[in-house]
Amino acid sequence: MRAPSLTWRAIAPWIVPLAILLAWEASSRSGWLSVRILPEPLAVATAFWSLLASGSLLHDVAISTGRALGGLAIGGGLGLVLGLLTGTFRSAETLLDTTLQMIRNVPALALIPLVILWFGIDEAAKLFLVAIGVFFPIYLNTYHGIRAVDAGLIEMARSYGLQGWPLYREVILPGALPSILVGLRFSLGLMWVLLIVAETISAQSGIGYMTMNAREFLQTDVVLVGVLLYALLGKLADLVARGLERRFLRWNPAYLGIPA
C-alpha cells in the first residue's frame, strides 16, 4: 500500500469539521435551523470579531486564564510537594496518604455549596475549586511516580556513592517525571472544566460571565464564542503539556526523533 502523502495527511483531519461547518451554515441560511438554537457560523465569527475589537474579549480571557493558572499553581504546587513527601518518606505516607485518599473520593463539584458559604462568590471561591480539583491528579501521579522508580537504578546509584540530594536529583526525580507530567496533563484538562463551572455559578468577569450574560439576552452567537474559547484554551493547555513532555522526556524512546 502506498503511504499517504504529506499534504493529504495535513488536510485530511480538517475535512469533517469543514463539512459540518458548511452544513450548519447552509441549514441556518435556509431557515431550517432557528437562530435561537444555533446562530449561523458567520454570525459567531462576527460576534467574535466585535468582542475582540471592543477589548472586552481579551479582558475576559485574561481574567479567566489568571484564575485557571492561579488555581493550578496553588493546587498543583501543593500536590507536587505532598506527593514528593509521601512518595519519599514512609512516615509521611503513613501520616497523610489515608486522609488524602479519603478526600480524593469527594468530587470537587460536590463542595460548591460549602465553597459558596465559606468564600461567598468571590475570586477565592473560584481559586479554591480549581485548586482542589487539580491537586489530586498531580498528587497521585507524583506519589506513584516516585514509588515506581526502578529500584535497580537506585541501588546502582547508591553503590556508586550517590545519596541524599544528588541521588534525588540524578535518579529519583527524573525517574518520576514521566508520571508527574501525566498528572499535570490530567490537571490541565480538569482545570478548565472546574473553572467553567465556577464562572457559570457566579462571576462579574471572565468567559463564564460573558456567556451567562449573553444567555440572558439570548445572544446565542456570544454563547458560542465562549464555548469555542474554552475549546481553544483547553487545546492550548494540552499543547503546552505535550511540549513539556517532549522537552523533559526527550530521552524516552517514545519521543526520540520528534522535533520539539
Binding site: 546509584a157 553503590s159 556508586y160 540524578e170 524516552n252
Partner: protein, 262 residues
C-alpha cells in the same frame, strides 16, 4: 587517594573472607565461606543458580551485610573500602534520562570528570557515542558503557555479576576480550560471578565453585593469555569443572557423562 586516569594504576585489593555467613530469615545462603584472593588476581565464581554466588558478590559490594564472619578488603573492613569497589550488574542499569557520557560521570565529582569519562569511553570503544541516549544503543554497547562507568572510578576491586548473561554469543566473546584487556592494563582485582563455565575458564586465574553456601572447588587455570576457546587444554579444563558442577545437580550420574568431558 589520587584517581587520575593517567596516573599509574593503583594496585588491586587483596580479598579475605573468613567464616562468612549470610542468612535471610531462616534460610542460610552462605554457610561460613572462606576465600582468599591475591591483589590483581582474576577469580571466577561458578555454581548453580541459587547457590549463593550472587549474594557473595553483593556482600563484597557492600549492598548486603554479612550475618557473621569476616570480610576484609586490602586488610580493612569492606565498609572502609567502598570507594575502591565498583560493580557491574547483570543489567547495564544506565540512567535512561542521562546521555552516555553523563552516565559514565555518575558519582564523579572531580573537575576533570568529563575528560576522564571521555577517556573511559574511548577505552571501551564508544568515544563517538558520548552524546547519545542509552536507549539507542545495543545491549552490548550498553554493557560497555556500564564497564566504562565502573572503570572511570579507577576501582581496585571490580565485581562482575554475570554482566554478559544477556548478550549474544559473539558479543559475549568480544566483551570477554575487552574485560580481559582492561584488567591486564589496570591490574585491579576482579571477581566474576557466572553460570557459564567456558567464560570462567576464558577469563579467570582461578575458578571457584560455590555449592550450598560453601566453596567446594578451587581450580587454578594455568593457561596462557589470551586464551582460545577451541584449544584442547581449555576444553579439558572446562569439561572437568562442568562435570564437577553437574555431579551435584544429578547425583544419580555415577561418572561424568562422556560427552561432557570429551
Amino acid at each position: 587517594m589520587q584517581r587520575d586516569w593517567t596516573a599509574p594504576p593503583a594496585a588491586g585489593l587483596a580479598l579475605r573472607l573468613e567464616g562468612l555467613r549470610k542468612q535471610f530469615g531462616a534460610r542460610t545462603v552462605l554457610d561460613g565461606i572462606g576465600i582468599g584472593v591475591a591483589p590483581g588476581e582474576f577469580v571466577a565464581i561458578v555454581g548453580r543458580s541459587g547457590c549463593g554466588k550472587s549474594t557473595l558478590l553483593r556482600l563484597l559490594a557492600g549492598l548486603e551485610s554479612p550475618t557473621s564472619g569476616q570480610l576484609l578488603l586490602g586488610g580493612a573492613p569492606a565498609a572502609a573500602r567502598r570507594d575502591d569497589v565498583r560493580m557491574m550488574f547483570q543489567e547495564p542499569r544506565l540512567l535512561p534520562w542521562r546521555t552516555v557520557i553523563q552516565n559514565v560521570q555518575l558519582g564523579l565529582d572531580a573537575a576533570d570528570a568529563p575528560a576522564r569519562a571521555r577517556d573511559a569511553l574511548a577505552h571501551v570503544g564508544l568515544a563517538d557515542r558520548a552524546n547519545d541516549w542509552p536507549s539507542v544503543l545495543s545491549g552490548g554497547q550498553r554493557q560497555r558503557v556500564a564497564l566504562a562507568r565502573a572503570l572511570v572510578h579507577r576501582p581496585r576491586l571490580l565485581l562482575l555479576d554475570e554482566p554478559l548473561g544477556a548478550l549474544d554469543a559473539l558479543t559475549r566473546i568480544e566483551m570477554q576480550r575487552l574485560i580481559e584487556s582492561v584488567w591486564r592494563e589496570l591490574r585491579f582485582t576482579a571477581v566474576l560471578v557466572t553460570h557459564d563455565v567456558a567464560e570462567a575458564v576464558a577469563l579467570a586465574d582461578r575458578v571457584l565453585l560455590v555449592e550450598d553456601g560453601r566453596a567446594t572447588l578451587d581450580e587454578p587455570i594455568p593457561l596462557a593469555r589470551p586464551r582460545a576457546h577451541g584449544a584442547a587444554a581449555f576444553a579439558e579444563l572446562e569439561g572437568r569443572i562442568l562435570a564437577r558442577v553437574l555431579q551435584e545437580t544429578w547425583p544419580q550420574l555415577e561418572a561424568p557423562h562422556p560427552r561432557l568431558v570429551a
